[in-house]
């Protein structure tokens, strides 16, 4: 109870996401929680983490308190190793230099497909969303970690529109669509950590966040969830993680 008040939903999202990264990896990060979580990992456990941004940045080392408002701003380049054109940094994904793609999500489905384009019929949309940006490229070409808020309307059986492909319709459909590499690796929410079944490619719960029950996760999800046989219990955020995170984002730009 008291533990839950130590941190906000977005803080635990950023911290659990950062724990998924390993030192030495090359990570292509989107703006917001992914940028923050990758930077957190870099400061805490993974000094050799190489962060790429779609604006053309290779080896970013974002300054505490100076988080960029997008991945195309000058702040992204501070102490980086290199700047490239945007098309060229995206092509690193296609060539295979990138271990992990790391993004937020507006709407996800049982196969890990993400929608950030349309709510409703694309021909007459109820809501026109901002679109893919580099999301489609990243999720088409590498292994993905998605960090997002857990709400029933965001976790739907099938997305209205596949902007960034997960496992499409499950099974072998991703490969058959012309995407032989990559796919959804992990989804992190304020409730749980999810992976995907090797065969069916459906989402399954790997670990529950501190104080969260199976029922709570299922109740907030718009499709039937599978659970790993031995569902793990995630360690709560440490003081070190929380302090470092708050130093990075003192104005709570992305962790409100």
């Amino acid at each position: 109870m008291t533990d839950a008040q130590r941190y906000t939903a977005t803080e635990i999202l950023a911290i659990l996401s950062s724990r998924q990264l390993r030192d030495g990896q090359v990570v292509f990060a989107g703006v917001g929680i992914p940028l923050l979580a990758a930077t957190l990992a870099q400061r805490l456990r993974c000094p050799g983490l190489t962060i790429l941004f779609e604006g053309g940045v290779v080896g970013a080392f974002v300054e505490p308190g100076k988080l960029p408002p997008s991945t195309n701003d000058q702040r992204c380049t501070k102490r980086a190793n290199m700047v490239l054109g945007s098309a060229d940094v995206l092509l690193l994904l296609q060539r295979g230099y990138v271990d992990i793609g790391f993004m937020g999500g507006a709407q996800i489905d049982q196969y890990g497909n993400l929608n950030s384009s349309f709510i409703g019929d694309p021909a007459a949309p109820k809501t026109r969303l901002p679109g893919t940006g580099g999301g489609n490229d990243i999720s088409s070409l590498t292994n993905m970690i998605v960090a997002m808020k857990h709400e029933k309307r965001r976790f739907v059986e099938n997305v209205d529109f596949i902007t960034s492909p997960g496992f499409i319709r499950g099974g072998e459909s991703r490969r058959e669509s012309g995407l032989p590499m990559g796919g959804m690796f992990r989804v992190i929410t304020e409730l749980a950590v999810f992976g995907f079944d090797e065969r069916t490619r459906r989402m399954k719960v790997l670990a529950l966040n501190p104080g969260v029950t199976r029922e709570e996760v299922q109740d907030n999800t718009g499709f039937k969830l599978d659970f790993e046989e031995d569902v793990a219990l995630t360690e709560p955020p440490t003081n070190d993680e929380l302090q470092t995170l708050r130093l990075l984002d003192p104005e709570r730009l992305f962790t409100a």
């Binding site: 779609e54 997008s70 701003d73 054109g85 945007s86 098309a87 995206l90 940006g133 580099g134 489609n136």
Partner: protein
């Protein structure tokens, strides 16, 4: 339809042979520079999101009441709002369209797409990049491996999934994009148009090479001697460029690397105003900041000295240790 979008190679070459690519001075005033842009043209916009946006050129196009422009940019921000909201454009090709992640969805974009029939043509970020690159290479398409399997691809009959003639793998061919005119803002260039870009170059080099005309705005015009002392910094060669305009703070209220960061107070109040009322809010904003000022400097004065100085302080701090 598609054939109309793709310029035949011979016409591309004819257009090129008619351009005056000699080493000549091209410095003009802002009002004159946009004469290259006629109603209905394809206009490529440099920079990305809130960075190195050629805002002064967009400002001038809107003031001169251009119509039916088909605009393309890798990622579009408030400039997209302004192009739709002013009626200058009814078609925007991009990969992401909102004011910025901090502000959620653009109500202006939503209004014009959901109820006014304007066209936001969505490609993946790499898709836009490969289209400009094909345009810059003088080939009709490039193959890529993203977008396949997604509904982004299904919305784009202009892109063709094929089986690779060498390996049999599925690939996506995306058509070249050769804008009639490219608008690009840089930190410095000489009077001939040799342009040096600091920091992130985005897709500007491909865009400049792909376009049939290029209008440059620059924070400052330097001598050709100064350019020649650091030729490795020159990213766009003079023979791509048709007009040069010196416009300090030419990306305001967006950022220009090393000089100023986005003017967040102005951005915040703009977003609050137009998202509260995408029609009247936008009309009032355009009236106050676009149509009423007599000059770009007057527009900057409306943004305000304090905000310009503060953005400059943040902008220059990128070079601090």
């Amino acid at each position: 339809m598609l054939e109309a979008q793709l310029e035949p190679y011979t016409r591309l070459r004819e257009n090129m042979s008619k351009r005056d690519r000699s080493l000549r001075e091209k410095v003009v005033a802002l009002e004159e520079a946009v004469s290259f842009v006629q109603d209905g043209m394809k206009v490529g916009i440099g920079g990305s999101t809130m960075s190195r946006t050629p805002m002064a050129l967009i400002w001038e196009l809107i003031r001169q009441r251009r119509k039916n422009l088909s605009c393309s940019r890798c990622i579009i921000s408030t400039d997209g709002d302004l192009l739709f909201g002013s009626g200058a454009s009814d078609h925007i090709i991009t990969s992401w369209f909102a004011q910025g992640i901090l502000w959620g969805l653009s109500k202006v974009m939503r209004h014009h797409v959901e109820t006014q029939g304007k066209n936001y043509e969505e490609w993946s970020h790499m898709g836009v990049g490969m289209r400009f690159r094909a345009g810059s290479m003088g080939v009709p398409f490039l193959p890529m491996r993203a977008m396949l399997g997604s509904d982004v691809m299904k919305q784009r009959p202009e892109a063709k999934p094929v089986n690779c003639p060498f390996t049999g793998e599925k690939l996506l061919l995306v058509p070249a994009l050769n804008p009639d005119v490219a608008l690009i803002h840089v930190q410095r260039c000489d009077a001939y148009g040799n342009a040096q870009i600091d920091g992130l170059q985005f897709m500007d080099i491909d865009l400049a090479l792909a376009a049939n005309r290029v209008i440059l705005t620059t924070e400052r015009i330097v001598s050709n001697d100064q350019i020649r002392r650091a030729p490795d910094q020159t990213k766009i060669p003079f023979f791509c460029v048709d007009a040069v305009v010196e416009v300090p703070y030419g990306s305001a209220p967006h950022e220009c690397f090393g000089l100023y960061e986005p003017m967040m107070k102005h951005m915040g109040s703009y977003v609050a105003q137009v998202n509260a009322d995408p029609v009247d809010g936008m009309r009032e904003y355009l009236e106050r900041y676009f149509y009423e000022p007599k000059s770009w400097n007057e527009y900057l004065a409306l943004i305000g000295m304090e905000e310009l100085l503060e953005a400059s302080q943040r902008g220059r701090s990128i070079y601090n240790d």
